[in-house]
């Protein structure tokens, strides 16, 4: 009995030692992983946010990385709100946004010691899109507002066929959605039976295959498989062309922005300088957006 007790004590002691050893090994391994992540983070620039800016940022980053091997740019979507939230949390270097930063977001950022700096990199129009078979070719802003608030429910009320309207919008993290809300809705609520999609690509996909659908997307997402509606203002119909967006004649025009902290990584700053250069702005125009410079 006595010897057994001693042995048990010994086991407990060795057990404790092993446990400490194991924990320290685990700790070392994890801190090692942490260091690795940090090192990789130093040479790379993370962009996230608006899916309206996404196609542009992707093309720009590919061109930029071809010329600058040492910089690694990673671009992902999520929506303008997500991008700015991540800038505030410090989990990206550049936030992409299709709307200006809100005062509340600036305040949140300042509270965390981050001062957002704005760069307008392009102008974009919001194209109102329908299925190619839809006979309607233009709407007034008032009609658009009534369609999205649920007052107009049938295409025949705006000169189309007798068919119910399937109104498609984005989720609330979308800058396009937020801009549309401000520019078109005038404080009225969206209809309750609004089809909500998590990405611009999903909006165009549904409009491509649904003859009763209406949606709104960044002008760069226009294609042959969908029909863009003109916006009727003062008896004239304007299309979201580069010229009309730049001159501001097209009523649903907006700026596209990048936000960084006041002291960004050098690589991030270099990338933004490239975007604002003549070469960068040429790509902006080629991708379907309107250049700012």
């Amino acid at each position: 009995m006595k010897t057994l007790k001693i042995k048990n004590k010994k086991i407990v002691k060795t057990f404790a030692i092993q446990l400490t050893a194991l924990l320290s090994v685990l700790l070392l391994v994890f801190s090692g992983i942490g260091c690795l992540g940090q090192n990789a983070g130093d040479s790379s620039v993370v962009l996230s946010g608006s899916t309206s800016v996404l196609p542009l940022a992707q093309t720009l980053s590919e061109t930029y990385m071809n010329a600058h091997n040492e910089t690694l740019l990673s671009v992902k979507g999520g929506g303008s709100g997500t991008g700015i939230a991540e800038l505030i949390d410090g989990s990206n270097d550049i936030a992409m946004s299709s709307r200006e930063i809100k005062d509340s977001e600036t305040a949140d950022a300042n509270a965390k010691g981050i001062e957002p700096v704005e760069y307008e990199i392009a102008k974009d129009g919001i194209a109102v899109i329908v299925h190619p078979s839809n006979p309607v070719s233009r709407l007034t802003l008032d009609q658009l507002q009534k369609i999205y608030s649920g007052e107009i429910k049938n295409w025949k009320d705006v000169g189309g066929e007798d068919a119910e309207i399937a109104a498609i919008a984005r989720d609330s993290a979308s800058g396009t959605q937020e801009f549309f809300n401000e520019a078109v809705m005038n404080g009225t609520e969206f209809r309750a039976d609004l089809i909500t999609q998590a990405a611009t690509g999903a909006v165009t996909q549904e409009v491509t295959q649904n003859s009763k659908a209406i949606g709104f997307v960044g002008a760069a997402y226009q294609s042959n498989s969908i029909k863009t509606l003109g916006i009727e203002t003062n008896e004239t119909t304007v299309m979201p062309t580069e010229e009309n967006i730049l001159s501001g004649v097209y009523p649903l025009s907006r700026g596209l922005y990048l936000y960084t902290d006041k002291n960004p990584k050098q690589e991030a700053l270099d990338f933004i300088r490239f975007i604002l250069s003549a070469d960068g702005q040429k790509i902006v125009s080629e991708t379907g957006y309107a250049p700012v410079n």
């Binding site: 092993q18 609330s172 309750a192 649904n210």
Partner: protein, 297 residues
């Protein structure tokens, strides 16, 4: 170090390794639990509990903001029920076929197919649904949009099937051969044996399979979000043909823009807690069923 103590060392080392694994899992679960419920508690400081539980409108953009759980719960219930109705019979029949009727070669091929389909990422299924299912559902039923609860149900049924089949198949295969032989010896034919002996003996495992399938359906996010249209309204009588929004899709759609510390932020955690409670409930039911009908082995 003697040979003996070296063995002790190894023994204890492995013991502590497993202990850390076990404690780690428990700790993570407890942390999630505490975090979810602490945030939900914050929500109910400013929002009435009954308004949340019985509210029929989910409108975070409106003023005042409305956080009614019912439309989301209705959405989750619609797609889950719609998925389970076809998936359970098909799943159980397939399991019976694989373990009782098919030849060894066919069974192997089928088992392989089931395992393979369990590995299809949900976003792939969602994409398939968006491109191929949505337009067909719209034209077949002549709807305003093909993004409906039914579309989500079909995708979920495909996702739940592998779980239901493989777990039921395990249960059926572990019914002892003696029972089956006894049934044959008493003059029953194969169908009678399956129906009267094998299925009742395996009912515990089969129920577990069904409940696991339901759990899979309730928790799925991505695939459902891509095909159900995400309308946060309580569907009418044509529940399966209207667009719905599930609890999980709401969290995924709205978490991106929500500012920390707002009522909306806490509301999303609260519906997360609701999901957690539902999952615990489903697991409890599975346990109760298992206790009531012991697997015959």
């Amino acid at each position: 170090m003697t040979k003996h103590s070296l063995r002790d060392f190894r023994e204890n080392f492995m013991k502590s390794l497993f202990l850390i694994g076990g404690i780690g899992t428990l700790l993570i679960l407890l942390l999630i639990f505490a975090f979810l419920f602490a945030e939900s508690f914050n929500f109910f400081k400013t929002y009435d509990f009954w308004d949340f539980l019985t509210g029929t409108e989910w409108k975070p953009g409106a003023s005042p903001e409305m956080f009614g759980l019912l439309p989301l719960l209705a959405g989750t219930a619609a797609v889950t029920v719609g998925a389970i109705i076809p998936a359970v019979p098909v799943g159980i029949l397939s399991a019976v076929y694989i373990s009782e009727l098919a030849g060894p070669k066919t069974a192997d091929i089928l088992k392989f197919a089931v395992e393979l389909s369990a590995g299809i990422p949900s976003v792939v299924l969602g994409f398939f649904g968006m491109i191929h299912l949505v337009p067909r559902i719209q034209s077949v039923f002549d709807l305003t949009t093909g993004q409906t609860a039914l579309t989500g149900s079909i995708i979920l049924a495909i996702m739940a099937l592998p779980t239901i089949i493989s777990v039921s198949e395990d249960a059926i295969s572990s019914v002892p051969a003696a029972l089956k032989q006894g049934s044959f010896a008493l003059g029953s034919n194969h169908w009678q044996t399956i129906y009267k002996v094998i299925l009742p003996a395996a009912v515990s495992g089969i129920s577990a399979a069904v409940i696991l399938g339901i759990g899979r359906a309730v928790g799925e996010t991505m695939a459902v979000m891509m095909v159900t249209g995400n309308m946060a309204i309580i569907p009418g009588s044509d529940i399966f043909l209207s667009s719905v929004r599930t609890v999980t899709a709401t969290i995924a759609l709205e978490m991106g823009e929500v500012a920390k510390g707002t009522e909306h932020y806490y509301a999303l955690f609260t519906i997360g807690a609701v999901l957690f409670v539902i999952t615990i409930g489903i697991n409890k039911i599975a346990e109760a069923v298992k206790r009531k009908h012991k697997q015959v082995t």
